[in-house]
Each structure stands twice: as C-alpha cells, then as structure tokens.
Amino acid sequence: MTVNVGDAIPTFTRATGFANWNRYAAVNDEFVPIHMDDEAGAAAGNGGAFGMGNLQWAYLHNMLRDWMGPNGEILSMEVQFRSPNVKGQTVTAHGVVTAVEGDVVTLEVWTDQQEGTKLAPGTAKVRLAQ
C-alpha cells in the first residue's frame, strides 16, 4: 500500500440512534440516562438523548482497522469531543494522512455529521502491515 501525505482514507459511516447506542451500552455497560432517555438528554441541553463519545472513538478505530486490515497496528489516538452525536444523525469517520515515516503513518482523524459539523476531531498514529 502506497500512502502519501494528503491522502484521504476510506470513511466509516453509520446512521446513529438507539439501535447502535443501546448495543454499545450493552457491551460497555454504559447505561447513562443522557444516552438512553430523551428527557435526560434534553435536560443536559442536547434536545434529546445523544450517543456515547466512546462509540465515536470506536468508529474512528473501525475506520483505521478497515483501511489497514487486521495486520495493521493502531499505535496511538487522541480525540476531543466537541459536539454531541444526537439521534438521527449520520456519523462518518474520516482520516487524512499528515505524515509518513517508513511504515508509520500519522493521520488527522475526525467524525462529523451529515452536514459536515465535526463531532470528534483528533489525531492517530498507525503502523501499516508489511
């Protein structure tokens, strides 16, 4: 795989709502009212229930993993949660290569919603498979 600075890697997209959030809550034991209950989400200032930051984190990992295949290695990741993932949004994870040193690639990564608003921007470093 040839990788160059500026390359955009394949995205990872999900329509989000209780179908994904409840399953993530089930595996991660993350049954927090703001993620389960529209009233609690609204009380927290988000109009309704909203998705877990951890699931945005997982989608960014899924994107990198699907791009590299099982033999690639995620070395590190850092993200900030800027904007909530509210119900009904289509969330897409993106990545653009910012540096290449041998087989180690640094990427700017982020999730956004269907209108392009960034939800969780960050950076990641990976080692590509031989």
């Binding site: 999900r14 951890n54 899924n62 995620i74 590190s76 850092e78």
Partner: protein, 173 residues
C-alpha cells in the same frame, strides 16, 4: 513563581489504584465487535477463529478499543491511604486524594486524552489497570500561568506486557 510544590513533584509516579479484569472471553470480543460495527457485520477475524488464524495475530484478538472492565472487575484496590476530603468538583481533588495540598487554583478544564497501544488483548487474557500520577508542567498562557497535570492509566496483561496507556490532562489556572 510556580504552582508545582515539592510534595506534588514527589507524588509523580504514585500508583493510586489497581483493578483486575475477569479473563476476556471470545464471546466478549464477538459481542463488542457486533456492537461497534452495528448494523453491518464486523470483520470475520473478530468472530471466526479460522479467519483470525490467517492474520499476523494467529487467532482472535480484541478490537483496540475493547474494554475488559465493562460490567464487573474481578478485583479492585485503592492504594491511597491518607487522602484528604475533597469533592470531585474541587480543582485540588487530585492532590487532596494523595494526602497533599493542591495549588489552590480556581478554574479547571479537561485538556484531552491520548491513548497509546501496545500488545493486543486476546481471549483468556487478564488485564490489570493501574492508575498513577503523571507529570506536572506549567506554561504562561492567555489566562496567566497554567498548570498541566496528567493522570495515567496503564493496562498490562498477565505476562506484564503493556496493552494500553491512556494519559489524561487537566488544565488549571
């Protein structure tokens, strides 16, 4: 002028808590993968041992973002014995929990989090998470002298290999 006291410097590296997971099962890995790829199918190498055997890992490994501490842990010990009372909204709660005086700054904000990954987690692994006090640093900023303090969570497997290190930064001013 610095907000970093000798006591704070001496506390760096202190392990504050240790948590041990139950053994990871293939079922945990399978369900995690099903959930984070929902509604599409996850890659077969998270589900099917034969597919996983074809990868460099030679078998099923957990997704990097997998949490072996979800629902329950097999053991937890707090290693802090002489903590001072502090509310979680107290900017000095980190130091007070260690039994030392904090810098007494007024404002705090989340400075973000970074994860570094080591070896992968597999079925049968027992993961130990150690919480420790990271480095302090400070910098003159728009808001005056800003204090950066770090808390570190280090996961190791039963062989003592590093699985994941998460560093969180708290900014106070």
């Amino acid at each position: 002028m610095s907000n970093i006291s000798e006591a704070m410097k001496a506390a760096v590296g202190t392990v504050t808590a240790r948590t041990t997971s139950y053994p990871i099962s293939e079922s945990d890995i399978r369900k995690w993968a099903l959930a984070v790829y929902w509604p599409d199918k996850p890659p077969a190498y998270f589900i099917d041992p034969a597919e996983a055997a074809k990868t460099v890992h030679g078998g099923i490994v957990a997704p990097e973002d997998f949490n072996p501490f979800a629902w329950a842990s097999a053991g937890h010990e707090s290693l802090i014995t002489n903590s001072l009372r502090a509310g979680t909204n107290d900017p000095d709660s980190t130091e007070k929990s260690l039994g030392i005086e904090g810098p007494g700054l007024t404002f705090m904000l989340n400075g973000g989090m970074v994860c570094e990954y080591g070896v992968r987690m597999r079925a049968g692994d027992v993961i130990t998470s150690e919480a420790s006090v990271g480095e302090y640093s400070e910098r003159e900023g728009r808001l005056g002298l800003m204090l950066f303090s770090r808390s570190i969570s280090t996961w190791t497997n039963q062989k003592g290999e590093m699985v994941k290190r998460t560093t969180g930064t708290l900014i106070r001013y």
